[in-house]
Symmetry: C2
Subunit: 240 residues, 2 copies
């Protein structure tokens, strides 16, 4: 732990850090910095240099692509089940996507050099990061398929469920505008869909807050993508 005063999160709250063998965790622990991740912060820009790897505890980060005309779409989300900055060890050092904080919270960060050093030992850290990358690939693939074939309501339910899984509470702090930009759809469409879900008793919301009332109901309205990705994460990372 980097600080003497106990932080509001422990590194164990990030599943990847928790899954590391003790000796490796103790080697990197002194270098883990717990930092606040305010809503909207840009962790890296398309093509930009990465200086740290981020292991979210309570924050949620969105990897998305912004097109020439300004429209954008989320490619994948990263919460306490993952790490931001895989291109550090995959070799390219940058990616054409952007990473921003879409739900504020905290994360542990690790300097790029240290991350790469540990990865290059070609031991458990490397194997864990590669398995996680494989899970992330599944998430991205499923996003592609989902964007092609599933309705806005299905996609919104899927997105809420993923976000819920990575959140400490049942209340999500986010505007409909934010959700729309994540899914790459119109804000008005989200307003309508959210209204439907609220009338059905699945969620309730007020200005910038969404509370999930009926998780099973959301799962029933979500597309298969939610479960495919969730199962694959469990399969690949159950080593923990």
């Amino acid at each position: 732990m980097p600080t003497a005063t106990s932080p509001p999160q422990s590194a164990i709250q990030n599943h990847l850090l928790a899954a590391l063998p003790e000796d490796i965790f103790e080697r990197i622990a002194p270098h883990l910095e717990l930092i606040p991740m305010p809503l909207g912060e840009v962790l890296y820009e398309s093509g930009g240099q990465l200086h740290h790897a981020y292991f979210p505890t309570t924050a949620i980060v969105s990897l998305h692509y912004v097109m020439e005309n300004g429209a954008s779409a989320e490619i994948a989300g990263v919460g306490n089940d993952g790490v931001v900055g895989i291109s550090l060890f995959m070799g390219g050092n940058t990616t054409p996507s952007r990473a921003t904080v879409c739900s504020s919270g905290h994360a542990y960060r690790l300097k790029a050099r240290l991350m790469m050093e540990e990865f290059n030992r070609a031991g458990p850290m490397m194997r864990l990061m590669l398995r996680y990358t494989q899970a992330l690939i599944t998430q991205m693939s499923q996003t592609a398929v989902c964007n092609r074939h599933h309705s806005m309501e299905q996609q919104m339910c899927r997105w809420l469920l993923f976000t819920l899984d990575r959140s400490p509470s049942h209340e999500l702090i986010m505007t409909q505008e934010l959700i729309a930009s994540m899914l790459g759809v119109r804000r008005e469409g989200i307003t309508e869909t959210a209204g439907d879900l609220q009338r059905a008793g699945l969620i309730s919301y007020r200005r910038g807050h969404i509370t999930v009332q009926d998780r099973a109901g959301l799962e029933a309205r979500a597309c298969e993508c939610y479960n495919v990705v969730k199962k694959e994460f469990r399969r690949l990372l159950r080593e923990a």
Copy 2:
């Protein structure tokens, strides 16, 4: 080279094999089998075991996902610039997607065990495979964004260009039905779009054959996704 009689392709036709340092290439070369890849062959099924890694020379392989209701969509394509079977070394051994041959030709294949052995040396083969995986991730991400925001015509042009880049000639052997299933759209939509492109003089076609007449014209009608992915492949794999 595995055979004494010179095969129609040389391993050098696969860019990844060509990019390997000589000593490593010579170590695996005796184990590379040149095999024919007939149209429609399934290299692996969702969740199925992988017995080989495939390095296409003239064949093109499509990674796609088939949904519960039977609809499907391509996630990424692999040609002589890549390898099929990254989950072998990423750790999961399987993926929820399917790989099928969408343009017949040949590929070199390498037994899973040998692939993993070489990867686990944590040397140039590992670094090359990881860089390729990073490029593949870009392709998948861009597919997700493209599915969300770009028109069928833009997507068809993008797809034709990628296929052309991986083909030995300007004539592609494929039906409109096939293209439709790759893009996850209706066959009739492809018929209409193909008609437009032919009237514009960009392509010409007949029953199962498409010939590209004006590559620059296709590029002009394709979305930015084509160039983003192409540049990223070049950046990551220019080491060759």
